[in-house]
Symmetry: C2
Subunit: 437 residues, 2 copies
């Protein structure tokens, strides 16, 4: 049986999962692949810790460079993370003609264009199924299954940490801070949760998916990013009153000559399947002109789910090597000469529905003043909810808008905040609901 | 640019969709593939009807044999359906060394083993993404994305007609016959709906998936099949009372040395995402030892969604041909020498939870008699619901069981039907709920 020699760089959580699968599941993988995946090297700065794996003698090394320079290695799996040494090792591996696999979404989102270019010039593959959505086969679906479709939109829950926290706030009316602490205790959030809760990790993923979907380069800087730190049980409660749940959504829409790519807390109706995706799970709904809507759902993180996605890349590459081919599928889905320059719209240009919560003094005329300002900016309201608890003499005034333009909304809200009857910064949550006018 | 020559056999609904995509979407397909898919032949007995497609001069033919015998054709797409001429043409195409694509689940379920053997011996591919779940990439997910997993179970809604009818019965309390008529009016059900409503089409699909999942040959005759024709609004109402919806599920479970493969109406809890899959959509939840649960969701039928899946096969094959390789992935996921003989359990052996509805005379002692018989067969009951409308002096007595064995259940129900206090055949619906004891 043919053997493919694999070098693993980084043996943290996901790296350990990859090693486990390569060793413990070698039989079932081999029965499908018809070849053996041989884990020849595992490089990590820590080769002392017991990872619960019986490595063969001499497999563990602290010298990652020697792994990428080993002429007998066919495939390099980069599981180090970060944008420093990981990038250097990937580039070195490409230069050495290795096929490379990574789950490093931060690196791909910020420097993927250069990395994919390097791989194309060298004629090797740089695979990254595990970079987006963990075990959900979203990269494969986009690059292979939807190949006959013009992608119209993608709407997804792409960060398990945020979805866990929002589920906690929704189901238990926890405050954000308490829900975050619980997520940290359970190992679902990092000690420094910034990348997750500020929406940055989600933005990395939608930046990658957006490039794949529409045939453009990765453009992270133009993705709008807003996290979940300001979501309160009160807004969750009002959302439910109107028939919505709040999720951190990545939204990407194709308008032909320009596209939307944004990450922010979003209200979606109960009838939308995504509103029922709870806990640490990821899910994405993709619309294509031939398929209509398809949805994928699965664990977006965690040792074994992510490792499973990495191994699917290893096997894909092994199948190519067995057929003596590489670059069977372009990394960003489109042939490089078909990658276009498509503008991502500024947030100001976005037109959508809005939920507003104003903290107003409990006195007559408030509603008229607020709605007057909104009217001046062409923002029309489809429902108002004024009942609610009084806090320090203020009451929440909640409104759902018809379609409105973000630039108008921001100006109106700034003006409303300056009204003497408004005592706190207005809250804005965007709504994604095709049923609304 | 390289050109792949394609011959299409059968230009009915899905065939027309395939032709449309090959012509209307050639630009986006070419931008991804880096080659042209040339629709050289379209064979159909009817070449007069206007299908809304501008075919090139001479593309349409009534002579399917000349298409499969054309030495310049690389890929044959079989969209004729049925098990007669379709099978002969597929075998002829294989014999001629063509790569073949089909969506013919009935043919694959009944004669796939022979067809896949013929393709293997000739060294060509026989691809079938569109045979199961329409545009949902379930075949690709199973064969490629989950390659590192031991599949533990698959639970799916695989027939859009049945799901539409059950959605109608659920949401509008329609009788089965009325819901079927509505489905026929809307074009979601055939004039003769037997294959769909009797669960046979679903069985075809789960027979194929079961082979792919566990590494065995296709074994349709041993799949248990029960349709939806006996589902009533009354049972839907009781199901809701207990927190369940009724879906026609395909259930396939891996017990190591034997497996379950069965199709029947099933109650699933509201919390299960599949219970929220409404209308003509398909969805499947797959459990693997590494990924946990993943779910796919998409249109299971219809011209363009199914055609999209067919084109994904054409592009996969075109990529192989461009790399001068074939049979990159084994048809049934496992290498042929790893395909095992695994027994499908008889229905008698199944252990699950049950919903029973007895039509009993409204008199004291009925419950004791019924539960006495159940007790004799070791079937214990976790809840009973006796209120409900009286019809002709009879009342429904509804029970939910703890885990019980099908053989015992069937014997008990036969005995209960013979009780003088029971006036109609007992209704049994199996329950799939991991939360139950």
């Amino acid at each position: 049986m043919k053997q493919i020699d694999v070098g693993l760089l980084g043996c943290g959580t996901v790296g350990t999962g990859v090693a486990k699968l390569l060793i413990d599941s070698s039989e079932v993988i081999g029965a499908r692949l018809g070849a053996t995946l041989n884990l020849k090297w595992v490089a990590d700065i820590d080769i002392e810790t017991d990872r619960g794996i019986q490595f063969d003698e001499g497999v563990l090394t602290t010298d990652a460079n020697s792994v990428v320079n080993d002429p007998n290695i066919d495939v390099i799996i980069e599981m180090i993370g970060g944008e420093g040494v990981a990038k250097e090792l990937i580039l070195k591996a490409i230069e050495n003609g290795k096929q490379v696999i990574t789950a490093n979404k931060a690196l791909l989102a910020s420097q993927g264009n250069a990395l994919f270019k390097a791989a194309a010039e060298k004629g090797v593959d740089l695979a990254f199924e595990a970079a987006v959505g963990g075990c959900m086969p979203i990269i494969k679906a986009m690059r292979e299954s939807l190949v006959a479709n013009r992608i119209q939109s993608m709407i997804g829950i792409l960060n398990g940490t945020c979805n866990y926290i929002l589920t906690k706030i929704t189901e238990e009316r926890s405050a954000f801070g308490d829900a975050l602490t619980e997520a940290q205790t359970r190992g679902y959030a990092e000690a420094d949760p910034t990348l997750d809760v500020e929406g940055i990790d989600t933005a990395h993923k939608i930046a990658i998916l957006t490039a794949l979907a529409y045939g453009m380069e990765i453009n992270l800087p133009e993705v709008y990013i807003e996290g979940i730190t300001k979501i309160t049980p009160l807004d969750v409660e009002f959302a439910e009153h109107f028939g919505y749940r709040i999720k951190l959504l990545a939204i990407s829409k194709n308008h032909g000559d320009k596209i939307e790519a944004r990450v922010h807390p979003t209200m979606i109706p109960f009838g939308n399947l995504l509103s029922n995706v709870s806990g640490t799970v990821n899910s994405v709904m993709i619309s294509g002109d031939a398929v209509g809507d398809i949805m994928l759902y699965g664990r977006g993180a965690g040792m074994m789910p992510t490792a499973s996605a990495v191994i699917s890349d290893v096997v894909d590459i092994a199948r190519n090597l067995m057929a003596e081919t590489t670059r069977r599928i372009p990394a960003l889905s489109f042939q490089r000469n078909h990658i276009q320059s498509i503008k991502i719209m500024s947030m100001d240009e976005i037109v959508t529905h809005y939920y507003f919560r104003f903290t107003a003094l409990d006195r007559p005329g408030v509603l008229s003043k607020i709605s007057g300002v909104l009217g001046n900016y062409d923002i029309s309201i489809q429902s108002v909810q004024q009942k609610g608890r009084k806090t320090d003499g203020s009451v929440p005034v909640v409104m759902m808008s018809h379609l409105a333009k973000e630039v108008d909304v921001q100006k109106a809200l700034a003006e409303i905040y300056n009204l003497d009857v408004v005592s706190d910064k207005p809250v804005l949550i965007r709504i994604e609901d095709e049923q609304l006018d």
